[in-house]
Symmetry: C2
Subunit: 134 residues, 2 copies
């Protein structure tokens, strides 16, 4: 796997946080795989499986009031065969999460097949997320 | 991908929790990929990358006192190309976590390339983990 693949994965990851921060449910839908099985673990939630459950959860999150203040920091991509993984830190208005995003190719483009985010201990982040997001 | 692959993934996931609960650091080392890049997000920690960092964290966790009381519940496997993902709930002595384990094949056997565990809200589990683990 060359650096080109890792750059593509980082761009796909950026696109995910772009639609997330914009509250763009149609953009979010387009980023998730259609043929591959998908799953999602939101902070504190058990795993959701299947496109219907996963997209329903994103509608609940993105269409419930204001668009979330979220920013991705420290993304790190690696490829596993024909799948790709990006780990990163998610900075929200009032806390920070550690995230895993798993991607697979469909129609030549990386699509999400799994997202997992869970709380980070503030001491592990090294800064106050409340002061660094606008 | 047939059911055989999913059954293999579930067995690899069981093996992971077996060595975890036994505090078996050599068994844990043998379950992680050697050629593929690896990463790990322990509860509250940022992502660790690379075999050295990841195995060092497992030594810290497994060799620090008693073997952890941990049990895997509700495992759900799915394949993504030549990678495999298992989501599950981890029941510990005093809390519950949602976990993602990502596997790749090396020498024909599924090996861990990524583990991510984060706290589950007790209400989402539907039972008191303190009462169900022995």
């Amino acid at each position: 796997m060359g650096n080109g693949v890792l750059a593509e994965l980082l761009r796909a990851n950026d696109a995910f946080y772009g639609v997330f921060a914009a509250g763009d449910i149609e953009g979010m839908d387009a980023l998730w795989a259609v043929r591959a099985p998908v799953a999602c673990i939101h902070p504190g939630w058990p795993a959701l499986h299947g496109r219907e459950q996963v997209m329903s959860s994103w509608r609940e999150i993105l269409l419930d009031g204001e668009a979330p203040q979220i920013r991705c920091e420290q993304p790190h991509a690696f490829a596993v065969g024909d799948a790709g993984i990006v780990t990163c830190i998610e900075l929200l208005a009032d806390n920070a999460l550690a995230a895993t995003n798993v991607f697979a190719r469909e129609n030549g483009l990386w699509h999400l097949v799994h997202h997992h985010a869970g709380p980070l201990q503030p001491a592990e982040v090294g800064f106050d997320p409340g002061q660094t997001i606008n």
